[in-house]
């Protein structure tokens, strides 16, 4: 890792972490509360995967937004609220389009939902789709690129043709079609749709690089040591390609995030009320004449994450060309 790319990687990781922990950072349900004499953690129940461990039926019935009940025994008591005490879906029409203030740091949208909460929750979707789709694209691209060289012949010809065909489609349209075919409105169709439309660059690159290594020192010595095709590719050639693939991948994550937010912006994304930076911006279109904050903050989040990814990729690429030159 290049030292100059550390701040950029830090920004991306921090955003990913914030997205992952969004239910704890922005929620109208407390992190820790006492209901009917026992401790409960309603906000934790919304975490992905581990959430069901904290699921508590008695806490689900409590209206946490109501005025605190008089201190009688057994009444629900809030012990610890999240730093942003609003949910991404909590509609408060009397609070609509409030400018940024001490209570709403990024202001509220046209339905009175706290924008900071929505931007935080949107981070998890954008980064999940960005990294998930890129991982899928890397997997498909690497496997097909390697397979083309290792098997050669007719299969190579076929794979090269398929890459040409898929690369000719505008990624936006291809992702849209795949998503529609896989079932609209979910996160995983989106990951699959974007991943399936973005693997061609990687496949071309991997095929070219492995072709370059064919018959070279690494290839011959690994073969001489008895490595089979799969072992040769995975153990000996993959490490050589890891650094340039990381550069391609970080641009890929940025592209996938742009694609995700663009699709969400046009209304083809994850079903509401789940926020995506793209869908928050789409909703902001309606209040374009009244408020700047619903446009500004999600855009700023996108620009910060995307420029960090690009900067990380750039410095990694620069570092790599330094290594190969010396």
């Amino acid at each position: 890792m290049q030292p100059e790319s550390r701040p950029a990687i830090f920004v991306v990781l921090a955003t990913a972490l914030a997205g992952l922990l969004a239910p704890l950072l922005a929620n109208d349900r407390p992190i820790l509360a006492r209901v009917g004499g026992h401790l409960t953690a309603p906000a934790l129940a919304e975490l992905p995967i581990v959430g069901r461990l904290f699921d508590d039926p008695s806490a689900n019935l409590v209206d946490w937004g109501a005025a605190p009940a008089p201190l009688q025994t057994g009444a629900p008591r809030v012990l610890l609220m999240p730093p942003v005490p609003y949910s991404y879906r909590g509609i408060h029409l009397d609070e609509a389009l409030r400018p940024p203030s001490r209570s709403h740091w990024m202001g509220t949208d046209a339905l009175g939902r706290d924008l900071l909460a929505r931007v935080l929750h949107g981070a998890s979707l954008s980064l999940l789709v960005g990294f998930g789709a890129t991982a899928l694209a890397l997997l498909i691209g690497f496997c097909l690129g390697a397979l083309a060289v290792m098997r050669g012949g007719l299969l190579d010809l076929l794979i090269v043709r398929v890459v040409d065909v898929v690369a000719c489609f505008p990624p936006f349209v291809l992702a849209l079609a795949f998503m529609a075919a896989l079932g609209r409105g979910g996160v995983w169709p989106m990951v699959a749709g974007i991943g399936l439309s973005r693997w061609t660059t990687i496949a071309r690159y991997v095929r070219g690089e492995i072709l370059r290594h064919r018959g070279g020192a690494v290839w011959i010595s690994a073969r001489a040591a008895g490595a089979g095709g799969v072992r040769l590719v995975v153990r000996h050639l993959l490490p050589l390609l890891a650094a340039p693939l990381a550069v391609l991948a970080s641009f890929g994550v940025a592209n996938a995030i742009v694609l995700e937010s663009g699709l969400s912006f046009l209304g083809f994304g994850v079903s509401p009320p789940a926020p995506s930076w793209g869908s928050i911006l789409a909703e902001a279109r309606g209040s374009l004449d009244a408020a700047w904050w619903p446009v500004f903050f999600p855009s700023a989040a996108l620009v910060i994450v995307l420029s960090s990814l690009c900067a990380a990729a750039e410095s990694a690429a620069a570092g790599e060309s330094r290594v190969t030159r010396s």
């Binding site: 043709r161 065909v165 349209v173 663009g262 912006f265 374009l288 690009c310 750039e314």
Partner: protein, 327 residues
């Protein structure tokens, strides 16, 4: 040169064939056929549905439809739009001028800003202005077109009221008025589309100019008494080749990006047609548009090869050598 071009053009035929097959396959994988989409899930009578199905030939298998579509294509017929029965070619041609105009303006804007920028950066590398400029371009590169569109719309159309929010220009009383209205309507979409290209071209320009500035011909030109400006003309001529390649990588991206920009600015171009056709499951129009964009991408590659041959005599002779070797 001609046989080379013919060979290159013929090699794209299987690709186009594959694209049409894949498009047909994806379209038939989509949930809901056109009639289900139009009827909103069953507000048409059974006879009406039956009638429409046979009229649109939806009761045939996808393979049979592909075969008849392919046969019609050999006669130069792309079929008719399922929505309004107009010929697909006419539907596309009526949308094409907007997209072409938008993309043409964007390419001009990208190169018009990025090339001088790169030249400036290359002439004073490492200076504060150079580094700030590069950081600014990376930042602009990271602004998605729709976010830029909203920010620009809010500032220039809503706040300041200088430019129209969206839509197509009105036909003015005079030609001048129409042109002015057109320019005002296209300015924001063009900027949004150009954003991502600036950083790319400027970086290329900077690198290319830097390597060219260190070469001997420049010293010779300056020593012969050419002004700085005339000399930089020689630099540009010597770096033309990478810019041509770059054009081929930018244009498909622009065409893809214009889907979203046309949608935001309500421009009735090809991108918007693509989106509405997928939504309405207008199969023939989607297939036609996909083939069109594929032909554009492939002929972009071909054009680059041709321009290489025209611009750079070294490549031309290299190609001829290669051929005489083969023969």
């Amino acid at each position: 040169m001609i046989p080379f071009l013919v060979r290159r053009a013929l090699s794209s035929v299987p690709t186009l064939l594959g694209i049409s097959v894949l498009t047909f396959a994806i379209l038939n994988l989509l949930p809901n056929d056109p009639i289900q989409v139009w009827s909103g899930g069953g507000y048409y009578s059974a006879e009406a549905v039956e009638h429409l199905r046979s009229e649109l030939r939806l009761e045939q298998s996808p393979a049979a439809r592909y075969a008849s579509w392919g046969l019609a294509l050999l006669r130069g017929d792309l079929g008719r739009s399922m929505r309004d029965g107009r010929p697909v070619a006419a539907v596309i041609v009526s949308a094409l001028p907007w997209t072409l105009l938008l993309n043409f303006c964007s390419v001009i804007l990208i190169y018009g800003v990025a090339v001088p920028f790169g030249l400036f950066g290359a002439s004073s590398p490492g200076s504060i202005a150079d580094r700030l400029g590069r950081a600014l371009l990376i930042l602009l590169y990271a602004v998605p077109s729709f976010a830029a569109a909203l920010l620009l719309q809010q500032w220039f159309a809503v706040r300041l009221g200088w430019l129209p929010l969206q839509g197509v220009p009105d036909r003015g009383a005079t030609a001048l008025g129409t042109t002015a209205s057109l320019a005002r309507h296209l300015l924001l979409p063009t900027i949004c589309l150009a954003l991502s290209g600036w950083a790319l071209v400027a970086r290329y320009a900077r690198a290319a100019f830097r390597s060219a500035l260190g070469r001997e011909f420049l010293a010779v030109a300056r020593a012969k008494g050419l002004s700085r400006l005339r000399a930089s003309g020689h630099v540009v001529a010597n770096t033309a080749v990478p810019f041509i390649t770059l054009l081929a990588t930018i244009v498909p991206g622009l065409a893809g990006g214009s889907v979203i920009v046309e949608q935001i600015f309500s421009l009735p171009g090809v991108g918007r047609l693509y989106l509405t056709s997928i939504e309405a499951r207008d199969y023939p129009v989607v297939v036609g548009l996909t083939l069109l964009s594929a032909v554009l991408v492939l002929s972009g590659h071909l054009l680059v090869d041709v321009l290489y041959l025209v611009v750079d005599p070294r490549i031309r002779s290299g190609l001829l050598d290669e051929r005489s070797d083969a023969a």
